[in-house]
C-alpha cells in the first residue's frame, strides 16, 4: 500500500504541475528554422503579405511566444504598417518586462527544465537574446520616427541602450564564472566550432550592436542633444571602428563640443582627418542625408549531428550522437549600396553629374548571431549531456521491463525527440549599412545604382537630417523617407 500511495502522490504532483505550466508539445518535434522556410521564401519572392499569413500566431504560454511576436512586428514593419508593428513590439516588450519581474526561483522553470531533460531544448520558452531585444527597440524607435514622434523614439533608444548595458554586465559576470568552473570539453565539436569561428570573425560579443548605438546617436543629434549623440557615436565606434561615416560623425561632433583630448586620440586611430571633416561641414542651405540600408535576411540555424563522448559509470568512454544548432559554413555575400543623388532642378538645365556615394557596414547581424550561439554552446552542451543520461536511464528501464520492444520504442523516441534548438529571429536583415552626405536643400532624385530598386524622390530640408531607410531582401524592397 505505501508503494501505491507513493506512486499516486507522484502522479498527482506531476498532473498538477503540468496542468499549470501548460506544456506545449507541438514545438518539440519540429525545428523552428525549417518551419519558417516558407515565410522567408515568401519575403524573398517579394510577397510579405503572404509571408505574414504564414506566420505563427503568438499565443501566450507557447514556448515560441516571444519569438512569434518579434516576427510579426518585423513583418508589419516591412509592410509599413507602423501602428501594427508598434503594437506587436510593445506586446513583446511587456511580455519581456513581465518575465523580468518574476520570482528568482520559479517552479515553472523547474518543470521546463524537467521537460527539456526528457525531450529537447525547444521545451524551454524562448527568451530573445540581447541583440534581438536591441534590434526590436531600434525598430520600435523607427516606428516612432515615422510617426514624427522623436521623443517617443528616444524613449525606445534609451531602452535599447539599457538592454545592451545589462547584457554587458551579465556577460562580464558569466566570463568570471566560466573561468572558475571548467565545463565540458568543447573541442570534441570541432567541426561545428570551426564554421562558427569563421563566421564570428572579430566580433567581440554577441550582443553589442553598433547599429543601435548609431541610430541612437542620430536621433539624439536630430533632437539637438549633441552630447548624448556624441557618447552613442563613441560607443558605436568602439564596436565598429572601421566605418568612415561614423569616424566623421565623431570628429565633427567632437570638435563642436570641444573634446580636444578625444579628438587627438581619435585622429591617430582614424583614416579620416579632423580638418577634412571640418572643411566639409554642411553649409546654411544644405541638409544631411542619412541612409540606412538593410540587406538580405539573416541566416537560419541548421541542425548538425555531433558525436559527444560521455564517460559511463564504469569509466569507459562511449560516443553518443546528438544534434546541436549551428550555421552552414557558407554565408551570403553582402555588398554596399551605391546611390547617386541628382538634383531635380526646377529649371530645365539638369546638372549632368550628381553625387555618387556608397554605404558602409555598421553591423553584421550574421556575425552577431553566430557569436551568440558560440557563447551559449557550453550551457547547451551540458544540458545535452544531462539529457543523454536521462534518456539512457529511460531506455534501460524500458528494456528491462518491456524487453526488446521497450528498447526499440525508447530508441525511436530518443531519435525523434533529438531536435536542435534552431530558434532565432529570422526576419532580421543579414547586415545593416549606413551612409551620410551633405546635400543641397530641395528636391532630389535618388537612384540606386547596383540594386534593382526604383529611383526615389526625396526633399532635403536645410539644417535638418533626412533619414532614408532602404530594405532589400531578394525581390522585396522598400524605401521610406522621413525628415528628423
Amino acid at each position: 500500500m505505501p508503494e501505491t500511495l507513493k506512486k499516486g502522490a507522484v502522479f498527482c504532483i506531476a498532473t498538477l504541475l503540468s496542468g499549470c505550466a501548460s506544456i506545449q508539445l507541438n514545438n518539440l518535434f519540429s525545428d523552428y528554422a525549417t518551419s519558417q522556410k516558407p515565410v522567408r521564401a515568401a519575403i524573398n519572392a517579394g510577397n510579405v503579405k503572404s509571408a505574414q499569413s504564414m506566420l505563427e500566431q503568438p499565443t501566450a504560454g507557447n514556448t515560441n511566444y516571444q519569438l512569434a511576436m518579434l516576427e510579426q512586428g518585423r513583418l508589419a514593419f516591412l509592410t509599413e504598417d507602423t501602428k501594427q508593428s508598434q503594437w506587436w513590439f510593445n506586446q513583446s516588450y511587456r511580455a519581456l518586462e513581465n518575465e523580468r519581474a518574476k520570482a528568482k526561483v520559479r517552479l515553472g522553470k523547474g518543470v521546463e527544465k524537467f521537460n527539456t531533460l526528457v525531450t529537447n531544448d525547444n521545451a524551454i520558452s524562448y527568451q530573445p537574446p540581447a541583440y534581438e531585444q536591441s534590434m526590436m527597440h531600434s525598430y520600435q524607435a523607427l516606428n516612432y520616427v515615422f510617426q514624427h514622434d522623436l521623443e517617443g523614439a528616444l524613449v525606445e533608444v534609451r531602452r535599447a541602450n539599457f538592454v545592451q548595458e545589462q547584457a554587458l554586465k551579465q556577460y562580464e559576470d558569466e566570463l568570471f564564472e566560466a573561468s572558475e568552473s571548467a565545463g565540458i570539453d568543447a573541442s570534441y565539436i570541432n567541426n561545428t566550432a570551426a564554421t562558427l569561428n569563421s563566421r564570428v570573425g572579430d566580433v567581440k560579443n554577441g550582443f553589442q550592436n553598433a547599429y543601435t548605438f548609431y541610430l541612437s546617436g542620430l536621433l539624439y543629434e536630430a533632437a539637438g542633444e549633441l552630447n548624448d549623440a556624441y557618447i552613442d557615436y563613441k560607443r558605436a565606434i568602439e564596436i565598429y571602428p572601421e566605418n568612415e561615416y561614423l569616424q566623421r560623425d565623431i570628429l565633427r561632433l567632437g570638435s563642436v563640443l570641444g573634446m580636444q583630448t578625444d579628438l587627438e586620440a581619435f585622429e591617430k586611430q582614424f583614416s579620416v582627418k579632423a580638418s577634412e571633416v571640418l572643411s566639409a561641414k554642411p553649409t546654411a542651405n544644405e541638409g544631411q542625408l542619412v541612409v540606412i540600408y538593410e540587406q538580405g535576411l539573416v541566416d537560419a540555424k541548421i541542425e548538425k549531428s555531433v558525436r559527444l563522448p560521455i564517460f559511463t559509470s564504469n569509466n569507459d568512454m562511449r560516443f553518443y550522437s546528438v544534434s546541436i544548432p549551428s550555421y552552414s559554413a557558407r554565408s551570403q555575400s553582402l555588398a554596399p549600396l551605391t546611390l547617386s543623388v541628382q538634383e531635380t532642378a526646377d529649371s530645365n538645365t539638369a546638372k549632368a553629374n550628381g553625387l555618387v556615394v556608397n554605404t558602409q557596414p555598421i553591423v553584421n547581424v550574421q556575425a552577431l548571431v553566430a557569436k551568440q550561439l558560440q557563447d551559449s554552446m557550453p550551457s547547451m552542451l551540458s544540458r545535452q549531456v544531462l539529457r543523454l543520461v536521462a534518456k539512457e536511464q529511460v531506455r534501460r528501464k524500458l528494456s528491462k521491463e518491456a524487453g526488446d520492444v521497450g528498447n526499440i520504442l525508447a530508441g525511436i523516441y530518443s531519435m525523434a525527440s533529438e531536435r536542435a534548438d534552431t530558434r532565432s529571429w529570422l526576419t532580421l536583415p543579414a547586415d545593416v549599412q549606413i551612409l551620410r552626405a551633405n546635400v543641397a536643400a530641395g528636391a532630389h532624385s535618388i537612384a540606386f545604382n547596383n540594386v534593382n530598386i526604383a529611383a526615389t524622390e526625396v526633399k532635403i530640408v536645410p539644417g535638418k537630417i533626412t533619414l532614408m531607410l532602404v530594405t532589400k531582401a531578394g525581390q522585396f524592397s522598400t524605401v521610406r523617407t522621413v525628415t528628423l
Binding site: K102, L107, Q166
Partner: protein
C-alpha cells in the same frame, strides 16, 4: 492502485479548477497609493503635480508677482527624458488645473490654438454668425510667463532588484526679460525586489 489514481486525479482536477476564479470589478480611491508595478504610475503623477503646485503657489517671489494682478501663463511642455512612454501632457494638465484653481494665475492654452482659429474663422467667414457679435481676431492676451520642465530618470537593475529614480524639474520664465522667476524639482525613487519563489 486504481482507486488511488482516481482520487489523485480528482484532487488535481479540483485544485486546477480552484486556480480559475471569477473576475471582480470594484471602485477604488483615486488618490490611493498604487504599486502595481515599478513604472511611472498615478501616484507618481499626483505626487509630482501636487508638490510642484504647492511649491509654485507658496513661493514668496510668486507672492509678490501676483499681489496686484493675475499674470497670464502658458504651459510649454514637459520633456520626457525617461525610458518610458509617459503622457507628460497629463502632468502639465494636472499642474495647470491646480495652479488655476489657486486663483493666482491665468492661463492661455497653446494646445487648442488650431481649434480656436478654426472657430474664429467660422464666425468671421462662415456667414452664419451675426458679424456684429462675432469674436474679432487679434483680441487675445499674450502670455507673460512660460511654464516648462523636464522629467528624467535613471534606471538600474540586477538579478534581484530594479531601481528607478525620477527627477522632475519645472521652471517659470518671464517671457519679456527671460529671467527664471521660479524653479523647483522633485524626486521619486522606486525599488522593486523580486520574490524569492514563484511560479
Amino acid at each position: 492502485m486504481k482507486k488511488t489514481l482516481l482520487i489523485a486525479s480528482a484532487i488535481s482536477v479540483a485544485l486546477l479548477a480552484g486556480c480559475s476564479s471569477k473576475q471582480v470589478v470594484s471602485y477604488g480611491d483615486a488618490t490611493a497609493v498604487e504599486t502595481t508595478d515599478i513604472n511611472f504610475g498615478s501616484t507618481d503623477l499626483q505626487k509630482v503635480a501636487s508638490e510642484m503646485t504647492d511649491s509654485l503657489i507658496s513661493s514668496p517671489v510668486i507672492g509678490s508677482l501676483t499681489q496686484n494682478k493675475r499674470p497670464v501663463v502658458f504651459v510649454e511642455r514637459i520633456k520626457n527624458k525617461t525610458s518610458e512612454h509617459i503622457d507628460t501632457e497629463s502632468i502639465t494638465d494636472s499642474i495647470s488645473t491646480k495652479v488655476l484653481r489657486s486663483g493666482k494665475f491665468r492661463f492661455v492654452d497653446m494646445s487648442r490654438v488650431e481649434a480656436v482659429k478654426k472657430q474664429l474663422q467660422f464666425q468671421q467667414e462662415g456667414g452664419l454668425v451675426d458679424p456684429t457679435k462675432a469674436i474679432q481676431f487679434g483680441k487675445q492676451i499674450g502670455a507673460e510667463y512660460m511654464l516648462y520642465g523636464n522629467l528624467s530618470s535613471i534606471v538600474k537593475a540586477n538579478a534581484d532588484k530594479k531601481d528607478v529614480y525620477y527627477k522632475f524639474t519645472m521652471r517659470l520664465m518671464d517671457l519679456e526679460s527671460g529671467i527664471i522667476e521660479w524653479a523647483d524639482e522633485t524626486e521619486i525613487r522606486k525599488t522593486r525586489e523580486k520574490a524569492g519563489l514563484g511560479w
